[in-house]
């Protein structure tokens, strides 16, 4: 995938403030299918707010004001998600988000997957079963849970729960994945598994992830955006990432 291909997401001059206090200041970036863009920055630099601005989730918080544009390209059409390009629920379905803590509902494994499909898309019966199986296979979880789909999702391990969360989003057929430190609460082995999965998924989805792990950034990122006090302070490409000393110096400065 080259820079010349049209981006799936184009964020321009995005400014977000809560109760008049600016959190993001004129952020501009693009996301492409086939590339994992990783956001790094110190706590409070606006990483999570930036993710939530791309699926308009900031609006769930009071006194949020957003300016600028987030253009999304879907099936040949494109438009600003802040200007009635799509109904809000559809924007959030097409721009899926995975949280830092595995956010499984205290329902069965199956219901965790079927609830959003039934409620948002009205899918039932065989079509529903097919989507569920496909999504679980996509995250390599099908073999582990196919015989216990009625068990509580909370009985799964942390890594399995996070993959279930990913499967739940993939079943909704998004174009973009926003990952907010998806491996922060997982051990090394499970983290490795999720990273392999993300490396596979990037071929089909544009991915924007937040990470606090320097080694993970080097393993995963095709591009790194350094966020400082709500602004994109620097952008690093794969060549920069290979230069250990320069990369380390920059990240030391960031963190």
């Amino acid at each position: 995938m080259t820079e010349r291909a049209a981006p799936i997401v184009e964020v321009s001059d995005l400014t977000v403030s809560f109760s008049g206090k600016p959190v993001l200041d004129a952020v501009t970036l693009s996301l492409w299918t086939g590339r994992i863009t990783v956001l790094v920055g110190s706590s409070g630099s606006g990483k999570t707010t930036l993710l939530r601005a791309i699926n308009r989730l900031n609006e769930c918080f009071p006194h949020c004001r957003t300016e600028g544009a987030v253009r999304l390209k879907l099936e040949g059409r494109s438009g600003d998600i802040y200007k009635d390009f799509l109904p809000l629920p559809e924007v959030r379905r097409r721009v899926g988000m995975v949280f830092q803590t595995p956010a499984v509902l205290p329902f069965s494994i199956l219901k965790n997957l079927t609830l959003p499909l039934r409620v948002t898309l009205g899918i039932w019966g065989n079509v529903l079963s097919d989507r569920v199986e496909r999504a679980l296979q996509e995250v390599s979880l099908w073999d582990e849970v196919k015989d216990r789909l009625q068990d509580a999702a909370t009985t799964l391990s942390g890594g399995q729960q996070q993959r279930l969360c990913l499967a739940r989003i993939l079943a909704l057929e998004p174009r973009v994945l926003l990952l907010d430190e998806p491996t922060a609460s997982l051990d090394f082995r499970t983290t490795h598994k999720i990273e392999e999965l993300l490396a596979r998924l990037k071929e089909r989805y544009a991915i924007l992830a937040v990470s606090h792990s320097l080694s993970q950034v080097r393993r995963l990122a095709d591009r790194v955006l350094v966020l400082r006090e709500g602004r994109i302070a620097q952008e690093l490409d794969p060549q920069h990432l290979q230069d250990t000393h320069a990369f380390q110096a920059l990240l030391d400065e960031v963190f």
Binding site: C60, L88, E90, L115
Partner: protein, 292 residues
């Protein structure tokens, strides 16, 4: 010093827990020992054969069956009024109200929960007087009025527990529904309410218990010592707490006092059964929520 303080506080915590357990156990033992001997068919139906009494073929004199039916009807009416309205108000406060409306409504709910039950009874009584002078000259105190007034009395319990159960849901689960494309109402209905189910149930249980035991409200809104089983919502009625109060205050023989204790035990058992029914209902709903 810190260690001694820790031990002291641990001791105090154990004592408080143990004290509560002891107080409740003593109360139950006392009530059971005084009330148990009085529980028989005559307590419920007096001299009337039980089948005739149950089928309302003959009136009951001296038995508590009409009071049991009256209390059950009151609890039912109060619950039908207060639980849906309380849950809806709790949802509004937790999910929809702006800061300004939230603080205004908070104040109102606090005011309502601080209203003494006798004042609520007076409110009902005055409302009937006002209705008699205006739209409904035939209006009188009765089961429906008492049920509505008790419903109003217990409404704050349901509102507060629903509100705090919803507000206690962690952010990552609160945001989950919207992040999956659920609308605000779909998120409340399909995700947040099931998550808050247990908290909401505790409010409903509190409301049921409070509705079953209140005497002051019904004193002014339609309860009488002898009314039989009410035939309509406008009829006067009997109720267990009022009968306990009446027997305790005006008993003419040790047998009547014993009947008072037995009635108190029956009220306790009725409330326990209502709690149990609420828990079983909640579990069955939760099971359905979790899997389907």
């Amino acid at each position: 010093m810190q260690k001694t303080l820790d031990r002291l506080l641990t001791c105090l915590a154990w004592l408080s827990g143990g004290g509560t357990l002891l107080a409740v156990s003593l109360l139950l033992v006392f009530l059971a020992s005084h009330g148990m001997p009085g529980i028989d068919a005559a307590l419920f139906f007096g001299d009337t054969p039980w089948l005739d009494a149950l089928l309302a073929r003959k009136p009951i004199f001296g038995g508590i069956w009409p009071a049991l039916v009256g209390t059950f009807s009151l609890v039912f009416l109060a619950s039908v009024f207060s639980i849906p309205l309380g849950i809806a108000s709790g949802i509004y406060l937790a999910e929809y109200a702006s800061d300004h409306r939230h603080s205004l409504l908070d104040f109102m709910v606090d005011l309502l929960s601080g209203t003494p039950s006798i004042v609520m009874g007076l409110f009902g009584f005055t409302a009937i007087l006002a209705l008699r002078k205006t739209f409904l000259p035939g209006a009188r105190t009765g089961l429906l009025l008492a049920g509505l007034c008790i419903g109003l009395l217990v409404l704050p319990y349901v509102i507060r527990t629903t509100e705090s159960a919803l507000e206690g849901i962690p952010d990552h689960l609160r945001l989950l529904g919207p992040s999956l494309g659920l609308t605000r109402w779909q998120n409340i209905n399909k995700v947040l309410l099931p998550l808050a189910g247990r908290g909401i149930l505790s409010g409903a249980i509190l409301a049921v218990g409070r509705a079953a035991e209140d005497t002051a409200v019904i004193l002014l809104t339609g309860v009488v010592a002898h009314a039989g089983i009410p035939g309509s919502l406008a009829d006067k009625f009997e109720a267990l707490p009022f009968r306990i109060y009446y027997l305790a205050a005006e008993h003419r023989s040790p047998q009547e006092l014993e009947q008072g204790f037995a009635t108190a035990l029956v009220l306790l058992l009725l409330t326990g059964l209502l709690f149990l029914a609420a828990v079983l209902l909640q579990r069955s709903v939760e099971r359905r929520w979790k899997t389907r």
